[in-house]
Amino acid sequence: VTFDTVFAELRAPVFKLCFRMLGSRHEAEDALQETFLAVHRGLSGFRGDATVKTWVYRIALRSALKVRADRETASRTLDESLEKSVVPEPALEAREEAGRLQAALASLSAEHRAVLALSALDGASHQEIAEVLGIPAGTVGSRLHNARKRLMDIVRPR
């Protein structure tokens, strides 16, 4: 597996994952670059314990968490995220709902956001999510459910 192949194949999903983790395009680019730098450094020593995709996703999550930790204030990122989110011509109410949802996503814990971001990737399987997060396959559903409920509670308080 060459770096160019990995980059060509995984750059888009990694960027999506980073963006969903961070909610900011600029920060997602930072995380993307850090991810592929780490991939470049580590690819020669990749032992094949997991699939390349799982390995890269793990690195991407770590990079996103690092960028997130470096973030100065949560509010700055939230504003940026809302500014840069592109929801194509929704009705006002739907736009507000989308805005609330984005804001709620930004306020979730890293653990919850990671599982939601991974599950929203095209073709991400149950097993892959478990491997990336390092949790048993049987707990993916419940973790995802917890994250979703938390999100729901924030967006639509009872």
Binding site: E29, V86, A120, V140, G141, S142, H145, R148, V155
Partner: protein
Amino acid sequence: MRRPPLSQHTTDVKVFVPRASNWVEARGGDVDRCETFEIAVEQRRLGALSAPETNQLDEHLASCASCRQFADFVGHSEKVMTTADATLNDTDWAYIKKTLRRASTVVRDQRLLHFILCVAAAPLMVLAIGVEPAVVLPRFLAVMTLAFIARVFLDRRLAHQMHGIGARNADFFDRYRAFVKRQVRMLWLSILWFPVFACLIDALGWVLGRTDEFTTLCRGLLVVVAVLVSVWLYRVPLTRYRQIRAQLP
């Protein structure tokens, strides 16, 4: 409250779908049972439910407003997450790839630097320890070797910090790459300087007809100068690093 018993698994993936006999029409009345179905909603999205389990879930959703609301929210939140995704155009990707290429060059240069330092340090150390005190070089080389080894670690730490910052700034990489190349060149020169300097000292003592004390003093002075130069060599990238860092947003 205990979660209801789980179903017999019809696939090799463990899912949280209860036995049909335990399913209830949970119209907002049994939160715990509904939670089990809500987890099944998530499982279905990931393709982890078998066809019979999916049918059972659909049956339940048809009769449970609470779970239906949750399923709707799942779909809605997924849609918002995916439609709000930022995208990168070809120019963005080209820029990112260019930056990555530069970064990988820096990493390669850095590895080369470390390799050369390690290769250079080993024979110098052997020479410094193994040669008799009366012969050219010993203390001088020992100190210089230690200075070199210290610089390897300092460089590693510095490089680590620079990579983190450099990944966000393509211009920075150009400057840093040039810096690393200069480091490598200076290293080669340094390797040549040591024996040359030591021989010069001995030759100077011989020409001037001075005593061993004079030669020792000169060597001592050279060691001090060499250490100061080494420290200065480290101060240069450190200062540059701080300057660049201050300019970054």
